[in-house]
Point group: C2
Chain length 305, copies 2
């Protein structure tokens, strides 16, 4: 059944009605396939982002190894917090501080080496509460939404605040999204020739701003080149991306995942890392009439089997 | 017939053998579909770039209008050269100077307005020698190559030194390449809200370097995230992109279009705009064993009907 992991309710109905509306030829809301662009946030929208971003946990493992070899590294505040398992403090220090540590660790490695590292780690590392590898913590209802969209000739892009190379390393396995359909935060790379081969070498610097808030819209244009008609997110960092879809000339659907299920997942208000004082996304959703997806009420099942 | 506009010869044979090799399951050179990435230059590789880049001619029309309104603009050297029809001088002044004028003309316009302008112009403007609209000056043999690659489950990307938004404006009509599969030179944009709508507003500044030479490789990674196995170009500005495909771990095919047909198109040595003293691409091709495509000998027909 379509959207089998969704309970009947306003969210499921809104999705089905929207998809029917934009794909019905001759209908007033018809959008040709070239305009059927969906952008979906990753952390907290497609898979679990608690107790910390999966990428932050990836950093943690690598940091532990590096700090054992280099004591001066272990003295940095964000390193101390991460190594002590104090993820609240690490998050308070901000995505950029976390990213900075990650970047420093991987500077000098090629993009191809980094991808292998990330894939190796993701194949074995386990979630601290659920004790399963992270690829088992994707949301079944959202994967069904992606399948439904593809069946109706949508192109589905992941637009993530996470590192683009990290999310690409799992995008194909988890979501069947190829690397070119992932838009994320990026690092600078240098063109180089090593042993006769052209390679790209990571630098210890972000390329532009983290992909959250207004930069999500800028990067959607840079990579996708079209305004989306469906956008899904879960935090204030997704607001502008949803607004971009919402204020186009075509029909649109904006979905906000509400993490209100402490029993099966986590209950928390999702905030923007780069703009912690932004309006809560549920308030924005209420004001603009976006569709809120309650994890507790709308989803029969949370995680994909 | 496959590659019907190609004469039998080394280039056609190399293409067919390569495509067979990488798609034959169980064969030693087999590449699964996820690795079948092709990157193809636009100007001079997919369509005619003489007597000037199509985008430069687009600028010319807009410049004429703007200069009539603003005399101080008409005093700039590149503007003078372009308005005098002195395209040689304009090219000598460089892609950046030409781009600078374009950028200034369009600063303040939204990306959506720019796309409409480009589409409108391309629908009506005519080539000065062939007296047909530019969309009729794509190369039939290259379109057949794109079709062949797609039939064999390749993803085909355009990687152009031209402005990404300009090439996107024609990519779907000319090559069936959607906007997200075009990688090109980019301008900075500002996130803005106008009349309640989220829009992106062009600034008078390039975003990073022009997409030629090593930046083509950097931008392939940024946008596509995979090393290509087929690369096609026609100038020294494509060298690094071809080298990137050539030095991967998978089988690869590198194609260089040689403009040696003054009668049906133009005869010229293609150089890099950003590095005019670079090794001629035909020398690089000879040295590295790349496949040279002679327009005169290899193509039965040049332009698509």
């Amino acid at each position: 059944m379509t959207l089998a992991s969704w309970n009947g309710g306003a969210a499921r109905t809104a999705i089905l009605e929207f998809v029917d509306r934009v794909t019905q030829e001759g209908g007033s809301g018809y959008v040709p396939p070239s305009g059927r662009v969906a952008v979906i946030d990753n952390d907290g929208t497609l898979w679990c982002e608690k107790p910390a971003y999966v990428q932050a946990l990836f950093v943690l493992g690598r940091l532990r190894d590096a700090a054992a070899r280099r004591p001066e590294l272990a003295e940095q505040p964000v390193v101390k917090a991460l190594l002590a398992g104090d993820l609240a403090t690490a998050h308070e220090l901000g995505m950029e501080a976390i990213a900075g540590v990650l970047l420093e660790l991987d500077a000098g490695r090629t993009t191809e080496e980094f991808t292998r590292d990330a894939k190796d780690w993701l194949a074995t590392a386990e979630h601290p509460r659920f004790h399963v590898p992270f690829p088992q913590l994707t949301y079944a209802p959202m994967l069904e939404l992606v399948d439904l969209l593809r069946a109706r000739a949508f192109r589905v892009f992941i637009v993530t605040g996470g590192g683009v190379e990290f999310v690409r390393a799992v995008g194909e396995e988890l979501y069947d999204v190829p690397p070119d359909d992932v838009v994320g935060s990026a690092v600078e790379v240098d063109f180089a020739r090593r042993d006769g081969r052209v390679v790209l070498v990571r630098k210890a610097a972000m390329l532009g701003s983290p992909n959250e808030g207004p930069p999500k819209v800028v990067n959607i244009q840079a990579h996708i080149g079209r305004r989306p008609i469906l956008a899904a997110g879960n935090s204030a960092g997704d607001r502008e991306m949803l607004e971009y879809a919402h204020t186009g000339e075509l029909p649109s659907l904006c979905l906000v995942v509400d993490h209100d299920d402490a029993e099966r997942e986590y209950a928390y208000a999702s905030t923007s890392v780069t703009d912690p004082d932004a309006e809560p996304i549920l308030d924005t959703a209420g004001r603009l009439g976006w569709t809120v997806v309650s994890m507790r009420s709308d989803w029969k099942q949370v995680f994909a089997p």
